[in-house]
Assembly symmetry: C2
Homo-oligomer: 165 residues x 2
DNA sequence: ACTATTCTGTTCAATATTGAACATAAAGGA
DNA sequence: TCCTTTATGTTCAATATTGAACAGAATAGT
């Protein structure tokens, strides 16, 4: 009831606690990205590159498509970014003999070494800022976010179905 | 083989609960942005435009610089985006008579009307996904995030000082 | 009053990201 | 087998974002 009223009446949107609290989440995300970008500058890495490399550490041999899906970005984005990393000798793309369409991705030794250094930096930032929470809070935030992600993925699938119809 | 190497070199960064939980936060933010962008498409609005207009609803007459600071983006970003909104007749930029450097920003009636429609959409998404949390959780997430933001702003100021020195 | 410094907004080049259209490879159905 | 559909990666144009360098206006120190 309260929520429905708020949704209709314009002025009190900022006192909607869900709205207000989410704004804080978005702000935090934005600032983390900026801080990470700043600290990665000496390594000549941008955050999207790090995202890719982090995933390759865990999922060597993944295809570009699957990597894009994991990162929630478009395939074309991978097509743009991966050749850069390949030219720097950080990533290797090997054709899959079984399916000639797919390119399988691997970190080189150099890529792995750089990824390790970058991950240390990223973990340090996260560790620092998350020390503003108690372990219980941190866990609860994570749980809540995983449920929210699940809900958003539902919305996403629903939208895709509606669109294809 | 590959997995054993991982376990040795990196003592499982992925099991660091702070890291893991933050990943969920980042994923949620990313997906919200996408869902919002999709639902704003019919209004021909992008999320950065909405961010600007939302802030102008609350802070009419703000300067470009102050707006950029509120949004944690560069001044040049405002210089790029605002003329677009001005040409569409959604935003007005008036020179400040007291200080000839600054441009003060206002929503037009049309801009206000469009902002209202967009805000309803945004609030609906947030309301939907945050319904995956209890009110207590939602409040706790907000509190934790505000502390994290404060910590990140400290890091930011520290970095700026170090740089200027 | 004058100079140096700071502040506001702009320009510009570089990069990230997206969606649509495309080409090729694989899979499925008749 | 042949045709249709689906999947993977690429190309391309459009847009967002940034940081550095800049011009003009205001401020402070002298």
């Amino acid at each position: 009831m309260n929520e429905k009223q708020e949704a209709k009446t314009k002025p009190a949107m900022w006192e909607n606690s869900r709205f207000k609290n989410w704004v804080a989440v978005a702000r935090a995300c934005h600032l983390v990205q900026q801080e990470l970008a700043r600290q990665l500058r000496p390594l000549d890495l941008k955050t999207p590159h790090l995202d890719i490399m982090v995933n390759l550490v865990r999922s060597a041999g993944i295809s570009q498509q699957d990597l894009a899906r994991k990162l929630f970005v478009g395939r074309s984005n991978m097509t743009m970014l991966l050749p850069q990393l390949e030219k720097r000798g950080l990533v290797e793309r090997r054709a899959d003999p079984a399916d000639k369409r797919v390119l399988r991705l691997y970190l080189t030794a150099e890529g792995r070494a750089l990824a390790d250094r970058a991950i240390v930096i990223q973990a340090a930032i996260i560790d620092d800022m998350m020390s503003a929470t108690t372990p219980e809070e941190c866990e609860m935030v994570g749980d809540a976010m995983r449920r929210i992600v699940a809900r958003l993925l539902e919305m996403q699938s629903a939208a895709e179905e509606t669109e294809s119809e």
